[in-house]
């Protein structure tokens, strides 16, 4: 087309939400400039200017237009570079609705439960929270079996929307296993998801995008200490 495309991505290395657009951009072979935001420091001017409402990453800036919220960005990438690479969202409206439903489940229910259970100091809340997380994984196992129909990913032969959504948390799950010996991806309980998680991490588009598990584990440990000391101060 001859038009110079300027694509910038603002993120933080640790954030599962920032991983999502990175995977999507790789799937579409789109070149972009990456800007690392300071997780604990002050927000950059570019971030404040492009996301004044929420001041959060990730933000995709395409030819000076900001697109906000990770799954929104993934859909935008899919629609904008639709001639390149495979489709990220399924083509059938019902399958798209399923992908959106389960990704909302992951973001609005499942991961918040994991986060809350991780930082709470109450043993009772932790136990209750982890039960909810495990229950959620069982539901996701069922959903995966129904949606993948024997293929390696939610998206079928190749990574799709739901793979990107849940896959962005696999690093954290594996890091928690390393850090706490907590086996959420348990082969005896969620065998299909375990297989899927390994396939996801070894996929070419994901391999160099997801941070190293050891680095994540170290950072998670640091985060939890900070969060718990914040909780005890209130």
């Amino acid at each position: 087309m001859g038009e110079t495309e300027e694509v910038k991505l603002l993120g933080v290395w640790f954030s599962p939400y920032a991983i999502r657009p990175k995977i999507a951009l790789r799937l579409k072979s789109v070149d972009y400039e990456y800007f690392e935001e300071d997780l604990f420091g002050s927000k950059s001017e570019l971030l404040l200017k492009s996301n004044p409402v929420h001041k959060k990453v990730p933000v995709l800036i395409h030819n000076n237009k900001p697109i906000l919220e990770s799954l929104n960005i993934v859909e935008y990438i899919d629609e904008t570079w639709n001639a390149s690479g495979q489709s990220i969202l399924p083509s059938h409206p019902y399958d798209r609705a399923q992908a959106r439903f389960w990704s909302a489940f992951v973001d609005d229910k499942w991961f918040p439960a994991l986060k809350a259970a991780a930082i709470t100091k109450s043993d009772e809340s932790k136990e209750k929270g982890m039960k909810e997380v495990e229950g959620g994984l069982l539901q996701l196992e069922e959903a995966f079996i129904a949606i993948s129909k024997g293929k390696p990913f939610f998206g079928g032969e190749a990574i799709g929307f739901m793979d990107i959504c849940l896959g962005s948390f696999v690093g954290i799950l594996k890091a928690r296993e390393k850090l706490k010996g907590e086996k959420l991806l348990d082969e005896t309980k969620v065998p299909s998801l375990c297989k899927w998680a390994d396939q996801f991490l070894s996929d070419d588009t994901v391999k160099n995008v997801v941070p190293e598990i050891d680095k994540v584990a170290e950072f998670l440990g640091e985060l939890e200490v900070r969060a718990q000391s914040a909780v005890s101060r209130t």
């Binding site: 395409h62 929104n72 439903f101 489940f105």
Partner: protein
């Protein structure tokens, strides 16, 4: 083989729900014939549990025998399945991303604040929720000006995704206005939204399904046993 869009459509809903309203407006816009089933007690309804075991909530659209859940999901599904009739989401990817962003904002901030005002335990909590809601209105007024570009709706000349997302909240907002005395949508502070609301209410896809405000007021009085509704 028949068209998928010809398969039988049912909607499980509850008349006071703004989320159900969204789906009815979308179906009306596309002139989709459907059977509406009122679920008065959705938490204990067998159909609801059967079709939405994860969240046990309405609305649920059942197309053929496939359930589609969550109001914005349903609106998008309707838009993508019934291609004749006006498009609900814009065609440009950036405009679509903007539309999706604002509807999420409306659910996560606006609706949460509306609820916050209704369930506030004391005057301080209520004041905070009211202030938050007023901030939402100011932001949406700006958004309206940007998106409508001088035309009648967020979607331009026709009702679109943000119109449906926010318009469904007009009923609950009016109920709160009645009980708090605060005018959230006002010709001076939010002129764009004020006139937009009238246009939205009188739209042919909206008018027949918008719940009666007096009925909503009574419903709120019974549902929320907090001080502002007494």
């Amino acid at each position: 083989m028949g068209l998928i869009s010809d398969e039988y459509v049912r909607l499980l809903g509850a008349w006071p729900s703004p989320f159900v309203l969204r789906t009815r407006i979308a179906l009306n816009l596309k002139r989709v014939p459907y059977e509406y089933l009122e679920e008065e007690d959705s938490l204990n309804s067998e159909s609801v549990l059967n079709y939405n075991p994860v969240h046990k909530q309405i609305p649920i659209l059942i197309h053929g025998n496939k359930p589609i859940r969550e109001s914005l999901n349903i609106v998008m599904y309707v838009d993508e399945t019934w291609l004749s009739g006006p498009p609900i989401l814009p065609s440009d990817p950036f405009d679509r991303a903007v539309a999706r962003f604002w509807d999420v904002y409306i659910d996560e901030h606006c609706f949460t604040s509306i609820n916050g005002v209704a369930v506030a335990k004391d005057e301080e909590e209520r004041k905070a929720a009211i202030a938050k809601l007023e901030m939402c209105m100011a932001l949406l007024e700006e958004t309206f000006q940007e998106c409508s570009k001088g035309r009648g709706f967020f979607g331009g000349d026709n009702i679109g995704f943000i119109d449906i997302g926010f318009g469904s909240m007009l009923g609950p907002l009016k109920v709160l206005e009645k009980f708090t005395g605060v005018k959230f949508i006002h010709p001076e502070t939010t002129p764009g939204l004020f006139h937009w609301a009238d246009r939205f209410y009188s739209h042919e896809a909206v008018k027949p399904v918008m719940p009666d405000i007096e009925k909503l007021v009574e419903f709120a009085r019974l549902k929320f046993n907090t001080s502002i509704f007494k």
